[in-house]
Symmetry: D2
Subunit: 342 residues, 4 copies
Amino acid sequence: MRAMSDLRVAVLGVGIMGADHVARLTSRISGARVTVVNDYLIEKAEQIAAGIPGCRVISDPLDAIADPDVDAVVLATPGPAHEKQLLACLEHGKPVLCEKPLTTDVETSLEVVRREAELGKRLIQVGFMRRFDHEYARLKAMLDAGELGRPLVLHCAHRNPAVPPSFGSAMVVRDSLVHEVDVARFLFDEEIVSIQIIKPSANPAAPDGLADPQIAIMRTSTGKHVDVELFVTTGVAYEVRTEVVAEKGSAMIGLDVGLVRTRSDGTRGGQITPGFRERFGQAYDTEFQRWVDAVRSGVNVDGPSAWDGYAAAAVCEAGVQSLNSGLPAEVAMVSRASITGA
Amino acid sequence: MRAMSDLRVAVLGVGIMGADHVARLTSRISGARVTVVNDYLIEKAEQIAAGIPGCRVISDPLDAIADPDVDAVVLATPGPAHEKQLLACLEHGKPVLCEKPLTTDVETSLEVVRREAELGKRLIQVGFMRRFDHEYARLKAMLDAGELGRPLVLHCAHRNPAVPPSFGSAMVVRDSLVHEVDVARFLFDEEIVSIQIIKPSANPAAPDGLADPQIAIMRTSTGKHVDVELFVTTGVAYEVRTEVVAEKGSAMIGLDVGLVRTRSDGTRGGQITPGFRERFGQAYDTEFQRWVDAVRSGVNVDGPSAWDGYAAAAVCEAGVQSLNSGLPAEVAMVSRASITGA
Amino acid sequence: MRAMSDLRVAVLGVGIMGADHVARLTSRISGARVTVVNDYLIEKAEQIAAGIPGCRVISDPLDAIADPDVDAVVLATPGPAHEKQLLACLEHGKPVLCEKPLTTDVETSLEVVRREAELGKRLIQVGFMRRFDHEYARLKAMLDAGELGRPLVLHCAHRNPAVPPSFGSAMVVRDSLVHEVDVARFLFDEEIVSIQIIKPSANPAAPDGLADPQIAIMRTSTGKHVDVELFVTTGVAYEVRTEVVAEKGSAMIGLDVGLVRTRSDGTRGGQITPGFRERFGQAYDTEFQRWVDAVRSGVNVDGPSAWDGYAAAAVCEAGVQSLNSGLPAEVAMVSRASITGA
Amino acid sequence: MRAMSDLRVAVLGVGIMGADHVARLTSRISGARVTVVNDYLIEKAEQIAAGIPGCRVISDPLDAIADPDVDAVVLATPGPAHEKQLLACLEHGKPVLCEKPLTTDVETSLEVVRREAELGKRLIQVGFMRRFDHEYARLKAMLDAGELGRPLVLHCAHRNPAVPPSFGSAMVVRDSLVHEVDVARFLFDEEIVSIQIIKPSANPAAPDGLADPQIAIMRTSTGKHVDVELFVTTGVAYEVRTEVVAEKGSAMIGLDVGLVRTRSDGTRGGQITPGFRERFGQAYDTEFQRWVDAVRSGVNVDGPSAWDGYAAAAVCEAGVQSLNSGLPAEVAMVSRASITGA
């Protein structure tokens, strides 16, 4: 009964995120084990492999993908490596869970989408983990069930306590906004057609030259409005909030995550999740368990697709244009039918 | 048109609470003015009167009550003075708003109730201001409308940040619990028939000899349960919480009073009301405005009555017995019919 | 002692809002009485006056303002009448509390500002009552005290359950947005220099032709960002929410007003304030009490000024331009120095 | 490398809870597989086993425990079967995760404790899953770190929407209160020495003869107070709330679980978890993952122990006494030193 043996996974890239995923697959996910790890820092890969029985290092990522001891691949390598590695996964027919971004530009993302479409089988899942968060899932279910009527407006806030010194203004769009773009597309089931980035006067605590906060204003194909506050040097905590305003009511998630309510010294309070691990740990675990389950059972993966990765890239590309020009930008995308109909 | 001229009020006792009431009547209440003040500290009274046009000091409280320039009386004198002053108000037919306690013991309270009943006209209102708080009023309205079905259980918490050094264990019952007793009687429309005071091991921060916290366990005439946490040295803030558990659901008030929600430095939070003024300022204002309106319009006052003061005193008396004995105590009360039927 | 006799107020316009103010001055405010009422519907004015001892109807609003029995004026007349009535108040040196709008266009508003400035004494207060709401006042105090550091971004939501059939798209700007404009100017102590109105696809439940919801995007003189969701056919309740995002943290008000928390039938919940009276009743009362106190004590009124009314009008004027053109609009205002320096 | 192969688990009892555990071990827990299932309903066991590759039915529970293909045991059999099965596990040296109760009476529980102590190795973990809930764990960590100072009082509420018709008054104590007893012992690190069950007048919706709600009043060895509202026919949802009141502040968990906040039709609200699976699913998963990890790594299990099961049984035994007598009851327990010192 082949399907029920453990899924043998290669994890490519074992930096912070990849190492998290190795630990996840090894110690919290049922039905998978990590048989191969790879990293451009060979010592890092050796160190990770040493802690896992039956796990080898393969120094070339394409060899790792091709290895007969590998059923499926997790890509946590730097974005510029994704295109070639994704195409290799497609070539070898191996399911792959790819951390965002799909690739680093819109054209190569589209190329990946096309190549997968030619295969006629879904192999690629993009790591938009929020879709697996209990609250986002519940919000989506409410909308799908019509509990709130037709959605009209989406307000999002994405706040980080701090970013590395190298974090530039365009990275706020590509690394932070990208998640909110996927959330909007996921909740509304519509493409985003235009975007404007507003740059208020900067936070005095932000590094010189970093436009922070930024406000993104987006419009969907049927005219729904989405706004996102992006603020990555708050000094507060990791805060991600989403509010849908709809025909029959509104719903908000993410306001008070972390439920111990304290009262001391004149104030009521509670801890806010300090980082994405605390906020979205459950979402990552669920994402991986479902991906492993889908792959093992031999069905197509059903999480966010290469198309979702391409669409997010196209919106962020237009976002960076707007960031630079100060003007609204149209999102340039091919029609989905042109791909699936091909 | 006599009824619509300003109500001329004598305020007896101008300590912290009485001075608050003078300011309230003078600067926030429509249709009243303070024409007489009295205090056993004559200088205090002089000082207050000096700030109010047309206000005199009368040094004898009974003269103040009898004065023709006085339409109605507010009693904020120490509890031991209440009996004589209340009886004087009854004798002169003057409406009186009496801060709790009605009197300092059950027998004299009952005597006051009887004397008012003999007059056949309600003149006495006891200062249980919480009945005029928006939230308590809404909770009462929900219960009266049957929105929650029959009430079954009441949980209360009464927490003070600190008390004066002179505050003894029995004062926790007489000064703090008394408000919760009235809340229970108000919400349930039933008398309390038994009470037990539990003394957990004391807060290390409480003064030596003060039993704090205390837990009061009460039972109403139809078997409803009431529990109250009394904790007067929390060091936190002024917290008063009430939860009714009923046949069709439950309702809680007082959890998050003060609605500015802040997020900073890793925590979400908000200020808790530091004292009873911040928590119940609106309730006091409403209490006084309604009392003034009722008196001016010539109808009977309709707030908490002398009977409510007597009943609360009877419950607290039994509470102090239990505090001392460590055993449950029955509440000794005459039947209401024996008074109103006389 | 003249200062301490009751302030004699003329209320001009006794529709819904004006009648509320008459009731407020008559039954909840200390130190004032309504001596004159006026309305273009004479029967309405007669009916109101009949319920108030010592109150007369004067059929001409300018006569009412000039009447020697009137110390101060409340304007709750339709906007087009304001200019002439305000100028009459200035001419007679009578303090006036004017419901918004100051006047119906920017030029006449500026003219009123200029005429008051020439007098060298503040007589006009504009009815932006939110500044007197406990929560807005607390938020302002936090900002002034630097508790949150420098403010950067303001998010507002203004939702009404329904509007009359006559309510048009520009009224959303002039009647609803105007309050948020004042809130932004109040909290940030800065002028708004540009505004854009975004029209998402409309709520299916909105009347034909009404652009609802609308999103207003504004920028202050130092580059702070303000966004406002305006949605007047929600079918939900009256919801007004404000969040300041600042250098050291953020603060939100208005999320859960009405503090009885219920739990029944599988859900936790609570009532939202159904209308502006429930939400801002306390703010109106405080606004009026402070105005009466200031006028009686002979000092200048210190609430929102004619300039605040002018500035709000100028921003809304630009907002309506943007609503019509679909493009951002600059706010055209004279400099404040050009007035006060005159 | 024996330690890292999958843990082979026998699940005894595959009713609702046991079947949940089979699914958990099979599809969500890393490093374990179910090799044997057993149930007194053989068809039920066959049906479960059929869905799991490599899983057999063994019809005799003691044979299942002894089977060489079994490394560890999960007991989800009815309480009366536990004693014999636990002793068999001890005899075979097999780690066992036993759903509460440890056994059905205090004496046999104590016997199990003694037998394990004689082995000098911890093999038994009792299924008090709440200790693994994120919020309880955080509350415990706060207390251990002294963030709230010394704890003084614990308030608990345990509400079920409904119970089966067979549910009797003593089951409220044995099945519901038992969890709160463990929570109190866990958070306070102290034994409970006395208990009183109060029976308010019953919920009209409760089945005839069921005392519901019940209030449990407990006292710990150092005099800390614990009260618990037990209410199993609320018709509302599954609600479990815990509040610690301590020297420097208080902390509450369980108030608003389920974080999607909705606003519609005049009310704000949110779904409450309908049952224990939704409320404590994460806790069960974490409990099992940690147990599997501990057993695989060859260390002693470190979750709630046989002693914890014995102590909870002793408190509930006294609780049932009090339920029947109406009087407070002392908890009869041997000293822990008499066991571990033996």
